[in-house]
Every structure is written in structure tokens, then in C-alpha cells.
């Protein structure tokens, strides 16, 4: 993480900026003019700021949805189809931005990943390039197995292999299917536990943001700690999710 990404955080999320409408000149809200309804040129803000939100992870999704629908009624290209070509272009840009922001923020995992990216953590890139390399070299991708799962995963993979073989031969072993099904349930429980754990770090993170907003001294080590914890939970969660997917596929085959 570089210093430059830190400074972007301390900048306050864009509030309802007091600017004037390009068309009627009155004071306006960020994305459209309250007075004349005209769509405004897009501002280069992040997804949180787009909705006028602080960079916190606990979000009232219902309120987010409500804002999303209200903004859609102003920004959507269908409702600006008779505007001038420049305004139509803004409508397209703003509307896609709105949809991108909504899609990202309403989902807890995507929201967390997005925040990490904003904070300069290259979470996805690592795993993606690893996947590509593995594919290019024809190897099975090596994933870091969370240590506490090592033994269990080894066992499960053996069972999955057996299950696939049996299915291929047209055989049926109810005991094995039941056992794999039970393990799937356990994994799903673990997945839920990880989400709970993640929610705990959200709280820590949000408290730090709150502290900054009230102009208290920055707590860099604590920030770093919260971010690292989130990366760790997400990695483990992705691993478990892939396992659940594999198990489901093997059972459904």
C-alpha cells in the first residue's frame, strides 16, 4: 500500500456538492438538477461517493435500493431520450455508473472487495494471474488451503474423486452421497461463519472511518490490520465457496 492511496481515504466522500446546473443555473444535487431535472455531467467519484455515502462497509441496503430507483428515474437514458446529444451521453455515463455502483455496493462480498481495491489492495489480481499461469502451463491451480481445513479438504477431495468415478461407471453409493452431502452442509456453515467474521471486521473498519471523520488522529496500524483481516477472510471464503461449488457439481452430475 502506498501513501498516495492513504491520502485519498482521508479526503471526505463527496458531499452534496454545491454547484450550479449547466442548464438553469440553480443550485443542484450531484447527478441531476432538482430544479429543472436535467442530467449533469458525470463527476469522477467512487461508488460510495456516488450515493453520497461514507466509505463504510455496513450499508443500509434497503435505503441504497431506494436511492437507486429514485436516481434511475432521473438518470436512465429512456427518460432522457429527447435531450440534446451531450445530455444523452451524460445520461448514459451516469446511468451506467449508477448501475455499476449499485451492483457493487448491494452485494456484501463485492462491496468489501471494492473497498479493498480503493484502499490499494490488489486482491483479485494475484489470484487471477495465478489462475492464468496454471492454465497456460496445463497445471491444476495451486490454491493456498487454509491450514485449519487442510486435513478435511484432503479427505473431501478423495471422496469427490470417488463419487465422480462411481457416477461415470453408473454406480451409486448412497452412503458416500450422504457423507458428501453432510460435508457440504458443514462447508456451508463454515461459509456463514466466515461472513460473520467479516462483519466483525466491517465494524472495526467503520469505527476507524468514524474516528477520521471526527478529526481524531489517524490510526494507520489499525487500518492496516483491519484491511489485512478482511483480505484473509475473503481468501478463505472464496476457497470454501469454490469447494461448495465443486461438491454441488459432483452431486448433481
Amino acid at each position: 500500500m502506498t501513501n498516495s492511496s492513504l491520502t485519498t481515504i482521508s479526503a471526505k466522500p463527496a458531499p452534496e456538492e454545491t454547484q450550479t446546473c449547466w442548464s438553469c443555473g440553480t443550485m443542484r444535487a450531484v447527478h441531476f438538477c432538482e430544479a429543472c431535472g436535467k442530467v449533469q455531467p458525470p463527476a469522477p467519484v467512487d461508488y460510495f461517493a456516488f450515493f453520497g455515502l461514507a466509505r463504510k462497509l455496513n450499508i443500509d441496503v434497503k435505503a441504497l435500493d431506494k436511492d437507486f430507483y429514485e436516481l434511475s428515474r432521473k438518470l436512465h437514458p429512456d427518460l432522457n431520450a429527447r435531450a440534446g446529444s451531450e445530455e444523452q451521453e451524460w445520461s448514459l455515463q451516469q446511468s451506467s455508473r449508477l448501475n455499476d455502483a449499485h451492483r457493487t455496493l448491494k452485494d456484501p462480498i463485492r462491496r468489501t472487495e471494492y473497498l479493498l481495491k480503493l484502499e490499494g489492495v490488489e486482491l483479485e489480481e494475484q489470484s487471477k494471474s495465478a489462475t492464468e499461469q496454471a492454465r497456460a502451463s496445463g497445471q491444476v491451480k495451486k490454491q493456498i488451503v487454509p491450514p485449519d481445513l487442510l486435513e478435511e479438504v484432503f479427505e473431501l477431495n478423495m471422496q469427490l474423486e470417488e463419487l465422480r468415478m462411481q457416477k461415470k461407471m453408473g454406480e451409486d453409493d448412497p452412503a458416500l452421497i450422504e457423507e458428501v452431502g453432510r460435508q457440504k452442509l458443514e462447508l456451508e456453515e463454515k461459509h456463514d461463519e466466515l461472513l460473520q467474521e467479516l462483519h466483525g471486521y466491517w465494524k472495526d473498519w467503520d469505527a476507524l472511518i468514524e474516528r477520521e471523520r471526527s478529526a481524531q488522529p489517524q490510526a494507520e496500524p489499525e487500518r492496516q490490520h483491519a484491511l489485512n483481516k478482511m483480505v484473509d477472510v475473503l481468501n478463505r471464503r472464496n476457497y470454501i465457496r469454490n469447494l461448495v461449488r465443486d461438491v454441488s457439481e459432483a452431486l448433481e452430475q
Binding site: 436512465h76 429512456d78 451492483r103 499461469q133 492454465r135
Partner: protein, 633 residues
Amino acid sequence: MATDYIVGIDLGTTNSLVAFMQGESPVVIPGEDGLNLVPSVVALDANNQPVIGNAARNALIATPERAVYSIKRLMGRGVDDVQEELKFFPFRLAEDLQPGEVLRIRLGDKTFTPPEISALILRQLKRNAERFFGASVTKAVITVPAYFNDAQRQATKDAGRIAGLEVLRLVNEPTAASLAYGLDQKQNGIVAVYDLGGGTFDISILKLHDGIFEVISTNGDTHLGGDDIDNLLITIALDDIQGDLGIDLRRNAEAVQAIRKAVIEAKIALSSQPSAKLEVELPGGKHYLREITREQFEQLIQPVIDRTVGPCKQALKDAGLKPEQIDEVVLVGGSTRIPKVRALVKDLFHREPHTDLNPDEVVALGAAVQANILGGGSVATENMLLLDVTPLSLGIEVAGGVTDKIILRNSTIPASATQFYTTQVDGQANVAIHVLQGERELAKDCRSLARFDLKGIPPMAAGMARIEVKFLIDANGILHVSAREQRSGKEAEIQVQPSYGLTDEQVEGMILDSFDSAEEDFRQRQVIEARNEAETILTALEKAKKNAAWGHLTTDEKKKIAKFEKGLRSVQEEDDYQAIRKAIEVLNQGTTRLAELMMDSAVSTVLKGKTMDEADMGEGPTAPHPVAKAEFE
């Protein structure tokens, strides 16, 4: 300012319709024949003039090599991916097609791309609307199957442009249907639209709340529909005929089309009757007759309609919904009239489907509603807003031939994604990007949309350039790409090579072409008609010279007629149809007295006991009547 009419068009595989919002409700605009449905059939007549709709349908059997149907199946597709279609559809591809070129279909001795053929259908609908309004129509909303990919959408938009229509929006067919349904029912809830048409299948799940029509998920198959059922029945009939009579009619286009017509009639009958007769007259005077029971029919089509199950389950899964959570299932498309299809839908969603809407018209009506919204809305559509999704994930090819998905399917559109690229070697000026659409992991299994070449990157050391590429899917579901080198702030030039589709210049050329050739075709037809007319009058004159009446003319009159005759003969073979017409006119006037004398003699002949038919009137074309004659042979 004159009223700007925006029409809604359902450009279907089998039938097309045009509708508009009359007051507060959408209505279909009928054609000159009074019918709402315009069959999506295009044929060339004897003068190489395009004929569309019901008129062209007859040509399918009479002159199959000059007619085409179900062209929608070829929209936005390449030679490689239509091989399967070619086994079942009598599409005649141009022989000189180059690899990578947009398909061209042969009609008579001319060739047309699928967008041009679709444009002819659109132009017919445009004319129907113009006749209805008594004003020109230049703006339209056109519907497309929800599961259409970028290339198929672009091809549809191109067709609109070629037809002289500004396509304000492409709307997904099931979504359009939901607009018509929602306007009618005014209820909130979760609605599934099951749309099985002539050639395509879509399933869309929507949330209707306070005027917002929000698509949650969509899935489908752009090559699944009533056509596939017809082809099954045709295959059976052809096999029967070969088995019983030992004649293989597969290569006999006329016979296959006659069978196809009979098969469709039987299929339709089977939706309301327990059995239907399949009866076809074969070349050589034999008859093919077969009785099909509904039970046999249902067994036969089961594999076809079962193909709709997978997409339905996937759509439910993507929406995160169980069948019980669907409040209403709306049926769209002619094929949903088949009782077995209705039973399957009931089974899938655990409820009786909503069948109040006319499945043939509801999509066009919905397109009219959307046209009204785009035009500024009315009391009925106030508060209505459509939030649709992209049906397929958008990806880019990365190292190892892997697809990296950057916009996932079922994302609300417009949607965008930004990717960063850099250079691999010092001073590299170009970067190539391969854009894909589809759900598969490997690039080769996805649909190639386009290859982009980022050009003009300022010279830098390897890895220094930071090129920001923005991918944006607009409200039509069509992709736009822009790029910028961040360090220099320079807009990178993008050269697009659509994998399947016409370039802007090609489309532009087709618009001009169609105007040019329309004028040229019109002129040629005029010349041919004028020559024919000249021939008729000259022949009549030769005959008249042998008539008794000729003897009653003065020498002066005869001289005058000879002069006019010579005048007409001298211009008859010229290309100037106006000159020919003028000479005909002159000769006509010069022979008025001759005609009168002949009329008198004809009347007196009648008085002598002869019939008018026997009396030679010496005028009027004696055009052969092949159709009537054929009955006696």
C-alpha cells in the same frame, strides 16, 4: 411542428408487426390487406422487385429460389455457425462468400445480407404505418430476443438504418411483453415471461414495482422455436414419401415448401383438435396423406420443448428464486398455443400461466409502450421505467486463451467496466484486445465480438504505458469501447474489427444502394411495361388492318396511322420509357376513329348472331393466363 410518430416494431422470425400508442393504449397497425401480422417473408417478383409479407408467402412455393423466410436466424451470424441451419432451411448462400464476410443470401440472381432482407420487412412495416398515419415515420423501437448477443443486436440496428429508420431503442421481447402486461394488469409482483416464438426462446424474470419493470434474470436459446417443430414434421413426411413412393424430395424446393405449408397447418390444428390430416399434393399428381394424433405430435415435439427447461431453471437460479415465488407466468409467442407447452410451463412454475394476452401481438404492443415512454410518456405510461439486463457476460481474452469476465450476465444495463493495459516491449505502439461474450471459461468457447487495436500509444519503456479501456454496454445491450493512455492523457485510437457484422461504411452504402437501386429498379420496370404496352398496341394494329373497318378509313387517315406506327417502332427499343409512352399516346389518338369503326362493326356482327368473344375487337392485351390454364392440364 408535425407530430413525430415513434412506432414499436416486433421483427419476428415468422411474423412481424408494427404498433403505436393510440391515446392511452397500444394498438397494432394493420397492413393494406387489413391483417395485423406481416409474414417475415421476402421474395423477388418477375421484375426483381421485392415483395414482402403475405404476397411473398405464395412465392415460397411458386418460386422458392426467389424467396426467403426465417431470416432472423441468420442475423449477426457467420458462415461457420449457420452450417446446422443450412441442413434444415432452404437458405441459398452466395457462392462467392469470403471467410469473415457477412453472409449473403441469394434471391434469384441477386444477393442480400440478412440485415438488408430484414430492412425490407422493416420498410414494409414503416410503409404500413405511414399509410395509417398519412405521415412519414422515421423513428422506431424494435424488439429483439432477450438472449440475442451483441452481433445479433447490431445487425438488427443496422437493418433499421438501412430501412430508413432511426432505432431509438432495441427492447428485449419478453421485457416488451411485460410492459404490455403491466400496463394491462397494473400489479406489483414477480413475473416470469416465457416466450417461445417461431425461431427463438427467451425466459425473463422481472420484478414489477411502482411502475419500474426490473429484469432480474434472463436466459434463452436464439435457435429454438416453432421452426424446429415444423422441421421435425417435414422430416417425417419426407421420410414417409421416400419410403412409400421411392422419391427423394429433399432437393425439390417447391415440394418441400408445399409440405412445410401443410405441416404448419396441421401443427396449428393440433392445438385445438385431437388429430389432424397432413395432406400434400406431390409432383407427378400423387397425394401424400397422413393422420397425426395429438399424442403422436406431443411425443414428437417433447425433445424440442424440453430444451426450454434448462434456461428456465438457470433463470430461476440466477434470480435466486424458487418457482413458488413467481406470482405470474406470462406466455408469449405463437408456439405457446401448443397445449403441451402450456402443460410444461405449468409444471415448471407450479401454476397456471396467464393466457389473456394475444401471444402474437403482445411484444409489438409492448414495443409501442416503450416508444411512448421514449417519446416523453403519457398519462398511461407516466412513472413507467424499464430496467433491463445484459443476457450474456462480457469478457476479454487473457493469457492462455482464458476468458476474463468483466461484466457478468444479468447486470442491469447500461453497465460498464474499466480495464488497464500496458505494453510488453519498449516503444510498443499498439495493443490488441479481443472482446468476447458468453459464459464459458475458454475464449474459444465464447462468442467473439470484436478485435480492438489500440493504436498510437506514445513511445515509452515496456510496462510504462497505462491504457485505460472502458467497456460500456448501452441500454440497447450493445457494446461501446473507448481507450485512453493515462500517462500522456492521449486518447488511444481504436480500430474495431467486428467478428460478425457490417462496418459503418457498409451500412451506409446499403442505405444509398437501396435508394439508388429502388430508383433504377423503378425506371427499368417502367421501360419494360412501356415496351410491353407498345407491343400490345402494335399487334392490335396489325390485326386491325385485316379488319373490314380498315377499308373504311381515308387514305389520309391511313397515312397518318402509318406515320405514328413508324414513330412508335423507332422508340420502342429505346431505354426512354417516357418517349415510348408518348409515342403510344400519339398512336392511340391517331387510331381512335379506327377503333370506333371496329366497335360499330363488332356490334353489327353481334346483331348478325355472333358473340362478342368471336368478334375480334382488335384491342386489349391478350396476355396468357398460366394459372387458369394449368387447371385444365
